[in-house]
């Protein structure tokens, strides 16, 4: 016997559990997650950062994480809703009176949890290389113990998860809005390019042309998840200072999540009643 009687929150968790099981049972996704983890650990082990401490490792990993995390998040999420639409399961779920917020929330929770676990786990594994690779008594640098600690790396890892969740939300919106796989791929690739290089390039161009001043750069960067993540890492995790407004960056990331999920809810299906 299987019991039912779920309310909206119960529906959400049922959907989330199904998404998690789907991710775990999809060999391509598992393989991609393993590759992501191995790459992050390899970058940590091969670079000089891990030998210098946690903060140097963060700075080593930052560009890789900026490029690889969106790739992972998009790969795990860009077809989540679309696949249900193509298989007809979206229609069938509607006959069970599942609401749009419960459905989208469940898909996001399940897929987001998978993305978060892979990102966080991989970064923790990368962080574990520091005690193994760093010399016991570094004498060539005047390091402040408080400035270089596992806490800084932990902050970086948490921020990377937040970054991943923001991109996952955007990818989910793509999967809900796209009506064909071709549309989904085009939108996902376009957003990836925009996030990874587009917004930075636009900010530099705007600065060079004098469209906006230096003061506006942090706000411009906060507009993209990548820029916001970088600002937060430099400003909060490793506290280099002068990296812009962490509040604006955090608002940027949270804003992407909220707006993207709203788009996903509105485009998942058109309500009959």
């Amino acid at each position: 016997m299987s019991g039912g009687d779920l309310d909206g929150v119960g529906d959400l968790f049922a959907i989330a559990a199904r998404e998690l099981r789907t991710v775990v049972r999809t060999p391509a996704v598992v393989a991609l997650s393993v590759v992501f983890g191995l790459t992050v650990v390899a970058v940590a082990a091969a670079g000089s950062g891990a030998r210098g401490g946690y903060v140097p490792l963060v700075l080593d990993l930052l560009p890789f994480v900026e490029a690889l995390v969106p790739l992972l998040a998009v790969a795990l999420c860009y077809r989540a809703v679309l696949s249900d639409r193509e298989s007809g399961e979206l229609d069938v779920l509607r006959t069970f009176d599942v609401s749009r917020p419960a459905y989208v929330g469940g898909v996001y929770l399940g897929r987001g949890l998978a993305v978060a676990l892979v990102v966080f786990g991989s970064l923790l594994a990368a962080g574990a290389t520091v005690p193994m690779l760093s010399p016991p008594d570094p004498t060539f640098l005047a390091l402040n113990e408080a400035a270089d600690s596992p806490v800084a790396f932990l902050r970086f890892s948490v921020l990377a998860v937040l970054f991943a969740l923001a991109v996952a939300a955007v990818a989910l919106a793509v999967s809900a809005a796209a009506r064909t796989a071709r549309q989904a791929i085009a939108l996902a690739v376009g957003l990836l390019v925009a996030f990874v290089v587009g917004v930075d390039a636009a900010a530099i161009a705007g600065l060079a042309s004098g469209t906006f001043g230096v003061d506006a750069v942090p706000l411009a960067l906060a507009v993209s998840p990548n820029g916001a993540f970088r600002s937060l890492v430099l400003g909060v995790a490793v506290e280099t200072g002068g990296a812009g407004s962490p509040v604006a960056a955090l608002a940027g990331l949270v804003g992407w999540v909220v707006v993207a999920l709203a788009v996903a809810v509105l485009t998942a299906w058109r309500p009959v009643e």
Binding site: S2, G4, L6, R25, E86, T95, D97
Partner: protein, 277 residues
């Protein structure tokens, strides 16, 4: 008994007969949510449905009422709008105009569920047949005997088999089982026998008969006119956005002097234009 109405924008009074009088036979489909002649409420009633995809009209004032325990077979040429009409009855799409009303014994005020089998049922890969039904069982109020549902559709021996390893026929049977989760009073089946071998078709229509015997209203579309003629209580022929015939299968056949439903179907739709809707 509560009613759940799906009201569409700009509803207008029905001004177009839902059947063409000269060609219709048997019972008239002009039934709305009012109690029928025997005093019982229909399990599902569609009133004056109109719909177009862009400039192409699909349904032009179609009304249909199905009683509990009745099997109504919707037949028509490819592209005649059968799947569109079934989606409206399942309430997963809204027509441009018209209403769909589902009667329910649910007194809890919740939305009455219509079991729905899409034309191409799909499932999440990697899940077993039992896993799939258990997932959907979480969304209904009552406890669901998943093993019983699988037994009902003849998939008891395939409970643990991955959905990707099911044959085409078994996949449709699993889709039928999914439609039955929660014991809906109405099931809508879009070409449930498509692509099945003759033995599987007979098995599927036997299951449909059993559902009707249990009081479930069944609306299905099919091109398997032999089993439809033997099993359905009513046949409704959809063509050109209208019902061109509606009635007992025997009466529909006799109305055009045909030998069987297959021949009658050809006579009823042969002069109609198929526009690829």
């Amino acid at each position: 008994m509560t009613d759940e109405s799906t009201t569409m924008p700009n509803p207008e009074p029905a001004t177009t007969a839902e059947t063409v009088p000269d060609e219709s036979t048997g019972e008239n489909a002009d039934v709305d949510a009012e109690p029928d002649a025997e005093g019982g409420r229909p399990a599902v009633a569609a009133t004056d449905l109109r719909h177009a995809f862009g400039d192409v009209g699909v349904l032009d004032g179609v009304s249909l009422s199905v009683a509990p325990g009745e099997i109504v077979a919707l037949v028509g040429p490819n592209g005649s709008g059968k799947s569109t009409l079934l989606r409206f009855l399942a309430r997963v799409r809204a027509p441009d105009e018209g209403t769909v009303t589902v009667g329910s014994t649910d007194t809890g005020g919740g939305r009455a569920r219509v079991g729905y089998l899409p034309q191409q049922p799909g499932f999440r890969a990697g899940f077993s047949a039992a896993d799939t039904l258990e997932f959907y069982a979480q969304f209904v109020d009552e406890d669901v005997d998943v093993a019983g549902v699988l037994e009902r559709v003849g998939l008891a021996d395939a409970a643990g088999r991955r959905v990707g390893a099911l044959s085409g026929g078994m996949t449709r049977l699993l889709g039928l089982g999914r439609a039955l989760v929660g014991d809906p009073a109405v099931v809508v089946l879009d070409e449930p026998a498509s692509g099945l071998d003759p033995g599987m078709v007979e098995r599927l229509f036997d299951i449909v008969s059993d559902l009707a015997d249990a009081g479930i209203a069944v609306v299905l579309s099919s091109h398997n006119l032999g089993p439809v003629e033997r099993t359905a209580d009513r046949v409704v022929v959809l063509d050109g956005g209208r019902f061109v015939a509606d009635g007992d299968p025997r009466a529909v056949v006799e109305s055009v002097g045909a030998a069987d439903l297959q021949t009658a179907f050809g006579d009823l739709v042969a002069t109609e234009e198929v526009t690829g809707r």
